[in-house]
């Protein structure tokens, strides 16, 4: 009884067909398709034509699920099983059209959404690759412009011309910052930016910000108040450069949009679990404020909320801020009322340094460049020589170059900015190359003390060479400089020094 029910249940779902090797139909029950004995099944649908090929790979039987078949008026989706039978085959066809159609909708939706996401990612990737490449390319000519501007500034020109050069220089610096911003963004988005963990001094960082903004504060008559929670440990471990970048971006932003009143930076200890500490930063201004409908988009790249052309900027600052904070495991939020002011709040996790004493620690350099180019300091007092070095370095496109003309300036610059290498002329006014080197090698600050120094000199004598290396210079290059030799010596030293850090 049960067999009969089962049979009637499947009757219109399964068809058995017997064929010979050449595809001729020898028998068929025609439950699904109307077939005629004697016809070639190969002519009815190309699927069947592939059956003999399977015999090369399988011996007795095989099944192929989910095959679309259309024969005469009947079409659908079937599972097919083939058995070898004597000189031919038995083909069993199971109708699963309903079942497969159901899963079809699911696959359709799933695939469409995956493709959509992939295409979006692709666009994003492309944009970032493009930005990273272009901004890199832009820097090479800019370095040349800046370098030669510096040389011009030191040449014999009128006060008025000097003033024009100042404008060129500050515009150039602005451009360089924008390019660095763009590069940063694309690096963050491509996941190529590493967060560092260095010990740093919170108080010092704030003092630095205060002095950095003192001029702006006076100019605009907008006061900057920085308040640090007294229970916050002074020395933390984290990425001070990036923290400084975040705060600078937010403060720049605050100063840009605030014309009266004040700006506050409040730093608060949120919670501390053994050496883990959570710190909240609040930047509050009494500026223009942001409209409610625009507040959600302010963290997007290239969006400027104020369409006022006088208020410049890339529109990248806040986007970088958000991405950096995200990268450091934090979140930023903003509240704003038009014409009342804006408050940005974010919190970040740090480690409390086990050493809370104020021993030698690097100060935060104002314009620490975060690029992958090398920063070179050239100490050389003769203008033609400056020009020569500048030409060589600029042509490679690998370096940021600053030029100074005596030893005192070298020391001053080293405390303002991290350099990767010094090219030092030996004969200079005030402090000469020898004394400057001795001074550097006795520095309390590791980065300065260990900086690679290459001596530049006119007459190469073995004795002078001995002296140079003896007082702690790393290399020695004679004039006229051989470009390749100079560059390869520079790169070697920079690499070695980085490896030792």
């Amino acid at each position: 009884m049960i067999y009969q029910i089962k049979e009637s249940f499947f009757a219109d779902k399964i068809q058995f067909i017997q064929i010979d090797k050449s595809g001729r139909i020898k028998g068929t029950d025609n439950y699904l398709f109307e077939l005629k004995e004697g016809d070639s099944i190969f002519e009815l649908h190309p699927f069947f034509e592939s059956i003999p090929y399977y015999m090369e790979d399988v011996k007795k039987e095989f099944s192929i699920p989910c095959v679309h078949l259309e024969i005469g008026k009947t079409s659908g989706i079937f599972d097919v099983k083939v058995f070898c039978e004597g000189e031919g085959f038995i083909v069993a066809i199971f109708d699963f059209t309903d079942h497969y159609k159901e899963s079809n909708t699911l696959s359709q939706e799933k695939n469409e959404s995956i493709i959509q996401t992939q295409l979006l990612q692709e666009k994003e990737e492309f944009k970032n690759r493009f930005l990273a490449n272009t901004s890199h390319e832009l820097r090479t000519p800019l370095t040349t412009i800046m370098g030669f501007t510096t040389i011009l500034q030191r040449s014999n020109i009128s006060t008025e011309q000097l003033h024009y050069l100042d404008i060129i220089k500050s515009s150039g610096e602005h451009l360089r910052n924008l390019i660095d911003d763009i590069l940063d963004i694309s690096k963050i988005e491509m996941g190529r930016l590493q967060i560092r963990h260095d010990r740093f001094d919170v108080k010092n960082l704030c003092q630095h910000l205060e002095s950095q903004y003192s001029l702006k504060s006076k100019e605009k008559d907008v006061k900057l108040h920085i308040k640090i929670d007294s229970s916050l440990p002074q020395f933390l471990v984290g990425d001070k450069l990036r923290l400084n970048q975040i705060l600078t971006n937010l403060l720049d932003n605050a100063f840009k949009f605030t014309n009266k009143g004040n700006i506050q930076l409040n730093i608060l200890k949120l919670e501390r679990k053994s050496s883990d500490i959570k710190v909240q930063f609040e930047i509050k201004d009494t500026g223009l404020g942001i409209d409610k409908d625009k507040i959600d988009s302010i963290f997007e790249s290239f969006i400027q909320v104020h369409d006022n052309p006088l208020i410049g900027g890339t529109g990248l600052g806040l986007s970088i801020v958000k991405k950096l904070i995200g990268l450091m495991g934090g979140r930023i939020s903003v509240e704003s009322t038009r014409d009342v002011g804006t408050t940005f709040v974010f919190s970040l996790g740090f480690k409390v340094s086990s050493n809370q004493t104020d021993d030698k620690i690097e100060t935060i350099k104002t314009n620490a460049r975060t690029s992958d180019k090398h920063n070179i300091l050239v100490a050389e007092d003769v203008e033609v020589n400056q020009l020569l070095i500048m030409k060589i370095l600029a042509s490679t496109g690998k370096y940021f170059v600053d030029i100074v003309s005596d030893g005192d300036q070298v020391i001053e610059r080293l405390h303002q900015q991290d350099y990767d290498l010094i090219l030092m002329d030996l004969k200079m006014p005030k402090m000469d190359g020898y004394d400057t080197t001795r001074f550097i090698r006795q520095s309390e600050i590791d980065i300065i003390k260990n900086i690679p120094i290459i001596a530049l000199t006119a007459n190469v004598s073995p004795l002078e060479r001995e002296v140079c290396l003896g007082i702690g210079m790393n290399e020695y290059v004679g004039k006229p400089y051989k470009e390749d030799e100079l560059i390869s010596k520079m790169d070697n030293l920079i690499r070695k020094n980085k490896a030792n850090q």
């Binding site: 090929y53 699920p65 095959v67 497969y100 899963s103 493709i115 992939q118 990737e125």
Partner: protein
């Protein structure tokens, strides 16, 4: 019947396998994406030089992110594989070399062609550069939409598997 051969189109989903087959067999193209479930089979008789013909039985199978997950019952008895990727989506060719290697090792007797489809949507030069950096060799750059290189690709394969 000895002059018919089985050819399989495979690759990630949405790369244009169905579109390539339909362009080749029916000379049509649709912008709509209709996912393929299982396998659909079409046949086209190709005239080769010297009055020889080959009927190509083309298996257009459902997309799969890797050959390893593809039902082997679809792949058995195949003379030529056409591995299609989508020139606009890196994810569809990131692992291409491993895929081809695997296919070659499982079906050593079969010919394999690698195809970059949707070439109408990208800059061919930059795609070639990108492929070069990934050390990917690609046999044909096709577009099911414009028909570019579609016939050439199928016919070249036909000659090889004759």
């Amino acid at each position: 019947m000895s002059n018919s051969k089985k050819v399989v189109l495979l690759g990630h989903f949405g790369v244009g396998k169905t579109s390539l087959m339909r362009r080749f067999v029916e000379n049509v193209f649709s912008e709509d994406y209709k996912v393929t479930l299982g396998v659909q089979i079409q046949k086209k008789v190709i005239e080769l030089s010297g009055r020889k013909t080959l009927s190509m039985i083309i298996w257009d199978i459902e997309g799969n992110t890797t050959v390893k997950n593809t039902r082997s019952s679809y792949l058995l008895g195949t003379s030529g594989f056409i591995y299609v990727f989508d020139a606009t989506r890196i994810d569809t060719f990131n692992e291409l070399n491993e895929e081809i290697e695997f296919l070659q090792s499982q079906y050593p007797k079969s010919k394999i062609k690698t195809i970059a489809n949707k070439i109408d949507m990208v800059n061919k030069k930059s795609l070639e550069d990108l492929l070069a950096t990934k050390q990917i060799k690609c046999d044909y750059f096709t577009s099911a939409k414009t028909g570019e290189m579609v016939n050439d690709m199928f016919e070249a394969l036909a000659k090889e598997i004759m």
